[in-house]
C-alpha cells in the first residue's frame, strides 16, 4: 500500500516538473479548456430539460450556431449528448441526464 502511495507521489512530482517544463503550452491549453467548459455549461443548461435544435441553442445562448454544432458534435461523440429526433430540417439534441460533465 505504501508502495502505491509512493508511486503516486512520484508521479505527481513528475507531472509538476513536466508542467513547469511545458509551461507555455500548458497555460495555452488550460485557457482553451476553461473557455470550452464555460461554453459547454451554457449549451448544456439549455438542453438539460428538453431537447433543442442548434439554432435554438445558438439564439438563446448568443453563441454562433457553427460553434454550438461543433460542441454538440463533440459531446455526442463522447456520449454526453444524444439525438432525440427532428424538428423540421434540424435534429434535436439533449444533454444526457447521468452524464458526469
Amino acid at each position: 500500500m505504501s508502495d502505491k502511495r509512493e508511486d503516486a507521489k512520484k508521479r505527481a512530482i513528475l507531472l509538476k516538473q513536466l508542467r513547469e517544463a511545458h509551461k507555455e503550452t500548458v497555460a495555452h491549453a488550460q485557457e482553451k479548456l476553461k473557455a470550452q467548459q464555460a461554453v459547454r455549461r451554457d449549451i448544456c443548461k439549455l438542453m438539460r430539460e428538453e431537447p433543442k435544435t442548434v439554432p435554438e441553442v445558438a439564439e438563446a445562448s448568443g453563441i454562433p450556431a457553427h460553434e454550438v454544432l461543433w460542441h454538440i458534435t463533440a459531446m455526442k461523440k463522447y456520449g454526453l449528448v444524444v439525438e432525440t429526433g427532428m424538428c423540421g430540417e434540424y435534429y434535436l439534441y439533449q444533454r444526457v441526464k447521468d452524464g458526469k460533465k
Binding site: 508521479r11 505527481a12 513528475l14 507531472l15 513536466l18 508542467r19 511545458h22 503550452t25 500548458v26 495555452h28 491549453a29 488550460q30 482553451k32 479548456l33 470550452q36 435544435t53 442548434v54 439554432p55 445558438a58 450556431a65 457553427h66 454550438v68 454544432l69 461543433w70 460542441h71 454538440i72 458534435t73 463533440a74 455526442k76 461523440k77 463522447y78 439525438e83 427532428m86 430540417e89 434540424y90 435534429y91
Partner: protein, 449 residues
C-alpha cells in the same frame, strides 16, 4: 529502437503503400512500411464508398490495414518519417525519426479509457475539423495500430489519462523522439497526394463561407463514422435541401498553376451526388461542370445512371460564390448551353477540389519530380511507369500523378513486381544486402477452378 535490415522499404501507408508492401511480403520479401501518421490507411480510410461499385470503403481498406499489421514479413512503423537517405553500395540506408506518442506502443491495448477521461476536445483533422477528438486518443475507430497518441502541445498534463489507464507505465509523458536506421535494397515511394486547399480560389469563398466545403468533407458526412452521423451543413446543422457541386475547383485552372485534370473529381462528385440522393431523398442536387470525364471501366454507365436518377447537370463554369443573409451560398454561373448568366441559391456547395503533389522526394531520395506538375518523375512512363530516375527506388499510386483508387492499386502491384524483379536480379549477381532469398513457399496458390 533497433536498426532494421529489410529487402524493401515502402514509404507511405495509404492504399498504394499497403498494396505494394503486401504484394512484396506475399512473395517472401521482408518489408518495412513507414507511415508518418499514427495510423495507416491514408486518405482512403476516410472515404465513404468507392466508385463505380459503391462498395463500402472501410470494408475494403480495413482488411488490408489489418493484413499489413499482421503479416510476418512486414514491419509496420507508424508515426515515423524518413529524414535522411544514404546510398550504401548498391543498397540504401534510411534514417528514420520516430515521433513520440507519449504512450507505450507495446503495452497500449487501445481501450480508449484515457481518451474518455481526457477533459479537452480539439477539432479532429480526420473529420476535417468538423468533429472532435481528445488530446489523447486512438486516431479513429478503425485505426491500425489501435494505439493511443497524445498531443503534448495541447495537453494540460493533468494526469487523468494516467490514472484511468489499466496498464502500468503505459502513458509516458517523458517519451522523446528516437532515431534508427533501416537498411534496404530497394525503396517504394507511395507518398500520396494532397487536396487543393479549399481557400485556393478566393472567388469560391472556401474557408470563409461556412457552407462551402470540399469533397473530402462530404465523404466524412456520408461515412457511417462521420462527425454528425448525418449530412448536415456546417453553419447551423440544417439538413440541406439543395446541394451543388462545383467541378474543376482546383484542376484545369491555370490561375492556380494546375493545368492538369485530377482524374477523380467527376467520378467522386457523381458518386457523392448518388449517395446524397439516397441519404436525403428530397434534396435537389446540381453539378456545375465544364465537361464530364468518365473514362474508366463502368464509369460512363455510372454517369448515365446518375442522370437517370434526377441529378441535375448544368454545363457552365462557376464564376464566384457569395452567401445571403441566411448563410446560403449563391452560385453565379454562366450556362454554356444558352449563354445566360444566372445566380442560384443552395443550402450547401461542394468544391470538387483536385489532387496536388504532397511530397517532394528530391531532397532526401534524390528522386526528381516532373517540372510541369510536381509529381514524381517517371523515367519510362509508357513502358515501366513505376521506375524513377534513381535505380532501386520505385513509385506507386498518386505520388506519381493523379489517379483513382483502382489505378493506385494496379500501380502498387506493378511497383511490387518491378521491385521484386530488381531484388531477384541483384541476388542473381550476388549483390543482395542481406543475403536472404524469397521464401517461394509463401506464395499463395491460385485456383482457377
Amino acid at each position: 529502437m533497433k536498426n532494421l535490415q529489410v529487402d524493401a522499404l515502402v514509404v507511405g501507408g495509404g492504399i498504394a503503400g499497403m498494396q505494394s508492401a503486401l504484394d512484396l511480403a506475399d512473395q517472401g520479401f521482408h518489408v518495412a512500411l513507414v507511415e508518418k501518421e499514427a495510423s495507416i490507411g491514408g486518405k482512403m480510410i476516410s472515404l465513404s464508398k468507392v466508385f463505380p461499385t459503391l462498395d463500402c470503403c472501410s470494408c475494403i481498406t480495413t482488411p488490408k490495414m489489418s493484413a499489413v499489421a499482421h503479416h510476418e514479413n512486414i514491419t509496420l512503423l507508424t508515426y515515423c518519417e524518413v529524414v535522411a537517405l544514404e546510398q550504401n553500395g548498391a543498397s540504401y540506408r534510411a534514417q528514420i525519426n520516430k515521433k513520440p506518442r507519449y504512450v507505450n506502443e507495446e503495452s497500449c491495448t487501445g481501450c480508449r479509457l484515457c481518451e474518455y477521461a481526457c477533459p479537452l476536445d480539439l477539432p479532429s483533422a480526420f473529420d476535417m475539423g468538423l468533429g472532435a477528438q481528445r488530446v489523447i486518443r486512438v486516431p479513429f475507430s478503425t485505426a491500425v495500430p489501435q494505439k493511443a497518441v497524445l498531443d503534448i502541445d495541447n495537453c494540460i498534463l493533468c494526469g487523468k489519462c494516467e490514472n484511468v489507464c489499466p496498464v502500468a507505465d503505459c502513458i509516458d509523458f517523458t517519451q522523446t523522439a528516437v532515431t534508427f536506421e533501416i537498411h534496404a535494397d530497394a525503396i517504394v515511394l507511395a507518398t500520396g497526394f494532397e487536396l487543393t486547399p479549399t481557400d485556393a480560389k478566393a472567388e469560391y469563398g472556401g474557408g470563409k463561407l461556412r457552407n462551402v466545403v470540399d469533397a473530402l468533407t462530404v465523404e466524412r458526412f456520408l461515412a457511417p463514422t462521420g462527425p454528425y452521423g448525418h449530412v448536415l451543413r456546417p453553419s447551423d446543422g440544417k439538413e440541406p435541401e439543395s446541394i451543388a457541386y462545383v467541378q474543376c475547383a482546383g484542376s484545369r485552372d491555370i490561375s492556380l498553376g494546375v493545368a492538369y485534370c485530377s482524374r477523380i473529381c467527376c467520378m467522386y462528385a457523381i458518386k457523392q451526388a448518388m449517395l446524397l440522393s439516397g441519404a436525403l431523398p428530397l434534396a435537389d442536387i446540381t453539378i456545375y461542370y465544364m465537361d464530364i470525364r468518365t473514362f474508366g471501366k463502368g464509369y460512363e454507365q455510372f454517369y448515365q445512371n446518375a442522370r437517370a436518377m434526377g441529378i441535375e447537370f448544368v454545363r457552365g463554369k462557376v464564376a464566384r460564390i457569395h452567401e445571403d443573409a441566411a448563410q446560403n451560398p449563391v452560385v453565379r454561373v454562366e450556362q454554356i448551353d444558352d449563354g445566360s448568366v444566372v445566380e442560384r441559391e443552395h443550402d450547401m456547395v461542394v468544391l470538387s477540389v483536385g489532387m496536388l503533389p504532397s511530397y517532394n522526394p528530391g531532397l532526401i531520395y534524390n528522386v526528381p519530380v516532373a517540372a510541369d506538375d510536381g509529381f514524381v518523375a517517371q523515367s519510362a512512363a509508357n513502358i515501366s511507369p513505376c521506375l524513377t530516375y534513381q535505380p532501386g527506388i520505385f513509385v506507386a499510386g498518386t505520388a506519381a500523378g493523379p489517379m483513382d483508387i483502382v489505378d493506385s492499386i494496379v500501380m502498387a502491384g506493378a511497383a511490387a513486381a518491378e521491385t521484386a524483379a530488381y531484388l531477384e536480379e541483384r541476388r542473381a549477381v550476388g549483390m543482395a544486402g542481406n543475403g536472404r532469398s524469397p521464401q517461394t513457399t509463401s506464395v499463395k496458390e491460385v485456383s482457377y477452378a
